[in-house]
């Protein structure tokens, strides 16, 4: 582990130096919100942001991704045979990912890299990406990361943690690759006062997170009790079944695979999908096991706050970033759902 400090004046040149070896992705303000963009001439990284509107999950799982191409030309030798579209992913460096979003990448990875299946598309991108996380000195009022196993200075999934210390950034390496980066940045070694400033910033940031959700009983709740709980209709009433929550969420990974054919040329692609959409579960027979919106709303919350916990034995598939809380058009607030699911006692059990 190695810590250095770099003055903010010099930071752009550090980024430019990184971009000789990596495709560097930085937060940039576009119109009304922030997004990660490739650093190049004319792109102005701006680290005065709370978080990006869309989560950086798309760096590993683009909204639309071409997987295979094929021809249907009757004469062609390889007619109808899928061939992989070579994905040339450069070595990448994401500078400024928030700790919640970096933890989310680790949670999503449990789905894309299992003993049975390794998703080559996702893993190829992941393996070529280094993460320089940006500690949150000023978390949003809707952040509840500290309740779900994360925090404003959380280090999971990061190669380097970067901290804003006023006139300078402190860069602390957390992996071997991160150490290489920090060395390349060429700043001064962090001194005692910098370490102290970091600790102080962390303490203050954690204090600023005033919003909490209860999770202690989720693992022990009986799955069927929660499934049959009486609050789903109420939770789902306002839901309009759009994909805002799932598309903005850093831990929603569901996708749909489609073929698109133009004349005799076809591609197979996969697109983000959403459990909020009725089509998500529509069977070929015409039957839809989640025909009603309350079933779909229940699915989303059960997956995040129960099935994921039961399957992987850790915390929920939520990192407390608050995007869904802020942007759900009808103000369905996952923090209320945590509360309801955690405290639920089914009437039969109560009377038993």
């Amino acid at each position: 582990m190695k810590s250095i400090v770099v003055s903010k004046d010099r930071f752009r040149s550090v980024l430019d130096a990184f971009s000789r070896d990596y495709e560097v992705l930085v937060p940039v303000k576009e119109e009304e919100y922030f997004a990660f963009k490739k650093l190049e001439e004319g792109v102005d990284p701006d680290f005065k942001f709370q978080n990006t509107r869309l989560s950086p999950k798309q760096l590993m799982q683009p909204q639309s991704e071409k997987m295979f191409a094929y021809t249907l030309e009757p004469e062609a030798e390889d007619a109808g045979i899928l061939s992989e579209i070579p994905g040339e992913v450069p070595e990448r460096l994401v500078v400024g990912i928030r700790p919640c979003d970096a933890l989310a990448v680790q949670l999503v990875k449990k789905n894309f890299e299992t003993p049975e299946y390794q998703d080559p598309f996702w893993l190829q991108r992941y393996e070529k990406t280094l993460f320089v996380g940006f500690a949150c000195n000023d978390p949003c009022a809707t952040c509840f990361c500290t309740s779900v196993g994360c925090g404003p200075f959380h280090e999971a999934g990061l190669d380097v943690l970067m901290v804003d210390l006023g006139d300078r950034f402190l860069l602390k390496s957390l992996t071997d690759k991160g150490k290489g980066l920090v060395e390349k940045a060429g700043g001064e070694a962090a001194k005692d006062k910098d370490e102290k400033a970091l600790n102080k910033a962390r303490e203050e940031a954690e204090k600023k997170i005033t919003c909490t959700v209860p999770t202690d009983k989720l693992a022990d709740q009986r799955l069927n009790d929660l499934f049959d709980a009486d609050f789903w209709e109420e939770v789902a009433f306002a839901c309009i079944n759009c994909g805002t929550c799932t598309f903005l969420c850093p831990t929603c990974w569901c996708f749909d695979i489609q073929d698109e054919v133009s004349r005799n040329n076809g591609i197979r692609l996969r697109n983000w999908d959403s459990c909020m959409f009725p089509l998500f579960t529509l069977h070929g027979s015409g039957h839809n096991p989640r025909d009603h919106k309350s079933q779909r709303v229940r699915q989303r919350f059960m997956h995040k706050l129960k099935y994921y916990i039961d399957k992987y034995g850790g915390g929920p598939a939520c990192v407390g970033c608050g995007r869904c809380v802020q942007f759900c058009p009808v103000n369905i607030d996952i923090r209320r759902v945590f509360e309801k699911m955690n405290s639920w006692a089914s009437p039969e059990r109560k009377s038993a």
């Binding site: 509107r53 000023d138 009022a141 759009c242 805002t244 802020q326 103000n331």
Partner: protein
């Protein structure tokens, strides 16, 4: 408008207690600034959950289609026009409804407040009459409501409900001499190429989440054309042609039915001015048929009428 809250609670309680309605649809106070949550209550004692202020921009008519209960519902001018449209289109019957009319002075545009805060996080927004105060860490800023209205509210000419059973307050003055189509004329004046570029630019942030469509009370089709899978009419990627196809066709489906309630634009998580599409059609229908949606229960919208003696050959 926050003072309407007590009256709404009182009416809801009375309607539920007397058994005049089975359920009541309104808003409850949101958990984040400038957002309220649509809520349905069935018990009189829950009436105190109901809330009203200038952040009730979601159109509650969206929650009515095909419901079978007797329903009390609060309705702004635009919501009431969409209720009329629903009744005309057989989505609900007038007899099922007790409409609690809101004389509306417009809804706050949360993006305008966020812009004025210049990147600082707004953690509280309070309103007192026409004075809106947004505050956050180390700042507090006041606005006149007329300067931070949603775009559609700023040009609204039907603030009072057109149909209701009781009003929560006396009618408000309607806005006069409003130029409703300045932005649309600017697009109309473009060349075809410029329009194409303009629309491409407009939808470039679209993530196909369909919040615009789903917030719209008009979009009640059991299966939307973009969700048809056999055959699949529209590609599902974020290819621009497919995305534009969705937006254009959605707008056409709303022609002569759209009340410009602004729920679509309000719901969009990436800030697309989706009303640019629907408003052009709204303008055309006004100019071609002198039709404004949802003002009467007596007539069907112009584009859903079929007459065997139609002068145009192609419909026969």
């Amino acid at each position: 408008m926050i003072e309407y809250t007590d009256k709404i609670r009182e009416i809801a309680k009375r309607l539920l207690e007397s058994g005049q309605v089975d359920m009541f649809i309104g808003f409850r106070k949101g958990t984040v600034p400038m957002m309220n949550e649509p809520i349905m209550i069935r018990k009189p004692e829950d009436a105190d959950l109901l809330h009203w202020d200038s952040n009730c921009g979601i159109n509650l008519a969206n929650y009515l289609p095909k419901r079978t209960e007797r329903i009390g519902i609060v309705a702004k001018g635009c919501d009431s026009r969409n209720i009329v449209n629903h009744v005309v289109e057989n989505q609900i019957t007038r007899e099922q409804l007790v409409i609690v009319g809101i004389p509306c002075t417009g809804m706050i545009d949360r993006r305008k407040i966020a812009d004025s805060a210049g990147g600082r996080e707004v953690v509280e927004v309070a309103e007192k009459g026409d004075e809106i105060t947004a505050s956050g860490k180390d700042f507090k800023e006041s606005f006149k409501k007329k300067d931070v209205l949603q775009d559609n509210c700023a040009i609204c000419i039907h603030r009072n409900p057109v149909i209701y059973d009781e009003l929560v307050a006396p009618e408000v003055e309607e806005q006069k001499d409003v130029d409703r189509y300045e932005d649309i004329r600017a697009v109309e004046a473009m060349t075809a190429d410029q329009k194409w570029a303009h629309f491409q630019e407009l939808i470039s942030p679209c993530i196909r989440c369909y919040a615009c469509r789903n917030a719209c009370p008009l979009c009640y089709c059991p299966v939307c054309f973009v969700d048809e899978s056999r055959p699949q009419w529209v590609g599902k990627s974020i290819d621009k042609t497919d995305t534009l196809t969705f937006h254009f066709l959605r707008a056409y489906h709303c022609a002569g039915r759209c009340t410009d309630c602004g729920a679509c634009e309000r719901a969009c998580p990436v800030g697309i001015k989706v009303r640019q599409f629907t408003k052009k059609l709204e303008k055309d229908v006004k100019e071609l048929y002198d039709w404004e949606t949802g003002l009467t229960l007596e007539e069907r919208p112009p584009l859903d009428r079929y007459r065997p003696d139609d002068p145009d050959e192609f419909v026969k």
